[in-house]
């Protein structure tokens, strides 16, 4: 990890705006527009977490993921919603993504930024008063392209080991 961008840096503002915009698009079901913010070689990962003894173990075993996606598989997930037969997402739940704790680092490559952030995801489904809640750390790689910032890699480190949620098509 090298130099960090600070709050007053132009690049920091660009990154935060990118993350907010992305959350806005997901929360407003503008999913194709969200997809257009991903690079063609994007990867989107959320590993399974377990409870282990010892501080610092993290609980991530190599092996199984909740999401192990590329742009093509994410596209298929989003097409699925447009069929009206994705029962877990229709009627559509209301979601709210809160992004905080954004840290920006210049990565090993000139045109990429390493961005860490916290996510609080709330979801209201049907007429239930209960919210589905997930929280996670996101470790992103954002690429600087002529069209602006694009998401090249997202690693989602979920805080839950056993989430209480009946469906999740994207986080």
């Amino acid at each position: 990890m090298s130099v960090s961008a600070t709050l007053s840096d132009e690049i920091y503002l660009q990154v935060v705006t990118f993350l907010y915009r992305e959350a806005y698009l997901l929360d407003h079901w503008k999913l194709e527009e969200w997809l257009s913010l991903l690079t063609e070689d994007a990867c989107y990962l959320m590993p399974v977490r377990i409870t282990e003894e010892g501080i610092g173990s993290g609980g991530f075993l190599p092996g199984l993921y909740h999401f192990e996606e590329n742009k093509s598989s994410l596209t298929l997930r989003i097409k699925r919603l447009q069929t009206q037969f994705a029962w877990g997402e229709n009627p559509p739940p209301r979601t709210r993504r809160f992004i905080g704790g954004v840290l920006v680092h210049r990565g090993d490559r000139d045109h990429e930024l390493e961005v860490t952030s916290s996510l609080l995801f709330l979801r209201s489904r049907g007429d239930s008063p209960d919210l589905g809640i997930l929280s996670a750390e996101r470790q992103d790689i954002l690429r600087l392209t002529p069209e602006g910032l694009r998401l090249a890699r997202r690693l989602i480190l979920l805080d839950h080991t056993v989430p209480s949620l009946e469906s999740l098509f994207i986080l």
Binding site: M46, V48, I50, T51, E52, E53, L61, P62, G63, L64, Y65, H66, F67, E68, E69, N70, S72, S73, T75, L76, R77, K79, R80, T83, F85, A86, W87, G88, E89, T161, V162, P163, S164, L165, E166, S167, L168, F169
Partner: protein
């Protein structure tokens, strides 16, 4: 309070439990899915007595390896001792009941209770209690405070446990289901292994919704997973789930072996990679090999709450060839309206790396918390549980389990495997087998 009478078990409102499960007429009362009193009886009469799947040997390969799981609502530790023997121990100290193991997986030399420091060997025996010469006036009988130990059995690497000392041996309990488990777990000499840790998540649905679906519900695919048909992931044919054998094993177990009409080409052996074919031909009997040759999907349930799915029919990425995946899962009861789903992904140890990766991705994208197919199912099971909690539904609503009620099993010449085999997976014979066993344990059998 429930009471035992000459006509079997009666619920506190006087309803004989047997009347709720009229399998002979194809009628099951909605109440069995949502009633808290029935749920409490299930914990005792089913989950204290049946063999329950808790882990796979590949999850705890080394001495000292453990995972924590549940048998019914009771938390257990599944651990391999120094000699390699597997033990299933109640995760509750024999002194005051605190959990002695607080991680979901790890490796240890012993279990030490965090409350007062009782130390247990990996086989559950108490090794020592602190200052016991003083604390217990030199009258401490160490041997009397072994952790509660369940009986353990394994089949094809799967670890089962039961609390019932009088339960039949595991092999007998599984019966002819073993023949079908072999097709999944022992189709190559090396067998299958669990990859990583299982997916675990909680949904607000009764545990039986999953068991009832996996045991024989070929019909739901066309509607529940309609998205896949709309997108061309599955063929647009209302008979997609029909072409196969629906096999009732008895003791509540059932399985289906689904293929396709003759005119539709199928990759041999569920689309397993060619590298595995010679291994498969060596490990299976001729009959087993032949039935696997034109199979695309195997689904089933081992009573009460272990289900299985092996399928090659789903794609998750355009332009990428279909690769089969295998999942086993347990539907863990956490209340009448709530369960944990614990879902393993397994793959042949001898499989080539490209296949292991492709199979894993296919599973992850279609099953588990974020799986597109799983989402379809889970949402509906939650709604089923929600819709039948009211007083009216509990008292009067009865479900239709008539499908295939008047169909006869086919002769051995047509289906060479064991069990009562019905042609066509649009059938509820397996579900009726499940419910007949449920009724037997809940209402009839002495217990």
């Amino acid at each position: 309070m429930a009471a035992r009478t000459r006509s079997g078990l009666r619920l506190s409102d006087g309803t004989p439990l047997k009347e709720l499960v009229r399998v002979e007429e194809g009628r099951i009362a909605a109440r069995v899915f949502t009633d808290p009193e029935i749920y409490q009886l299930e914990l005792e009469r089913i989950f204290l007595r049946c063999w329950l799947a808790v882990a796979h040997e590949s999850e705890i390969p080394h001495p000292g390896d453990y995972v924590t799981r549940r048998m019914g609502e009771d938390p257990v530790i599944v651990v391999r001792d120094r000699a390699g023997q597997i033990h299933v121990l109640l995760n509750s100290c024999t002194h005051r009941g605190a959990e002695i193991c607080r991680a979901s997986r790890g490796n240890t030399r012993e279990f030490v209770c965090p409350y007062h420091g009782y130390r247990f060997h990996l086989d559950g025996e108490l090794a020592s209690a602190p200052a016991h010469e003083w604390a217990y006036d030199q009258r401490f009988d160490r041997k009397a405070f072994t952790l509660h130990r369940a009986r353990v059995g394994t089949y094809g690497g799967l670890i089962f446990a039961t609390w019932d000392a009088s339960a039949p041996p595991l092999e007998e309990y599984l019966g002819d289901m073993r023949w079908y488990l072999d097709l999944l777990l022992r189709r190559t000499a090396g067998g299958v292994e669990v990859v990583g840790a299982p997916h675990r998540w909680i949904i607000e649905a009764n545990w039986k919704t999953g068991a009832d679906n996996f045991i024989g519900d070929g019909l739901h695919t066309f509607m529940t997973h309609r998205y896949a048909i709309e997108l061309g992931v599955l063929p647009n044919d209302p008979l997609i789930g029909w072409f196969g054998w629906h096999i009732s094993i008895g003791r509540g177990h059932g399985v289906a072996m689904v293929g396709a009409p003759e005119r539709i080409p199928l990759p041999p052996y569920l689309g397993l990679p060619q590298e595995l074919w010679p291994l498969l031909e060596r490990a299976l009997t001729d009959v087993q090999r032949r039935v696997l040759e034109r199979t695309a999907t195997i689904h089933g349930t081992v009573f009460p709450n272990l289900s299985l799915l092996n399928t090659t029919t789903i794609t998750t990425e355009e332009g990428v060839p279909r690769v089969p995946f295998l999942t086993l899962r347990v539907w863990i009861p956490l209340g009448p309206h709530r369960m944990e789903i614990l879902s393993w992904f397994l793959v042949e140890k001898e499989g080539p790396e490209w296949y292991k990766e492709a199979s894993r991705k296919n599973y992850e994208r279609t099953f588990g918390l974020t799986g597109t197919f799983e989402e379809d199912d889970a949402d509906i099971w939650v709604s089923l549980t929600r819709a039948n909690r009211g007083a009216f539904a509990r008292k009067y609503h009865v479900f239709n389990y008539e499908m295939g009620l008047h169909r006869q099993p086919r002769p051995k010449a047509e289906w060479p495997g064991p069990g009562d085999a019905y042609w066509g997976d649009y059938c509820e014979a397996n579900q009726r087998t499940f419910w007949a066993q449920w009724r037997h344990l809940m209402a009839e059998d002495g217990g």
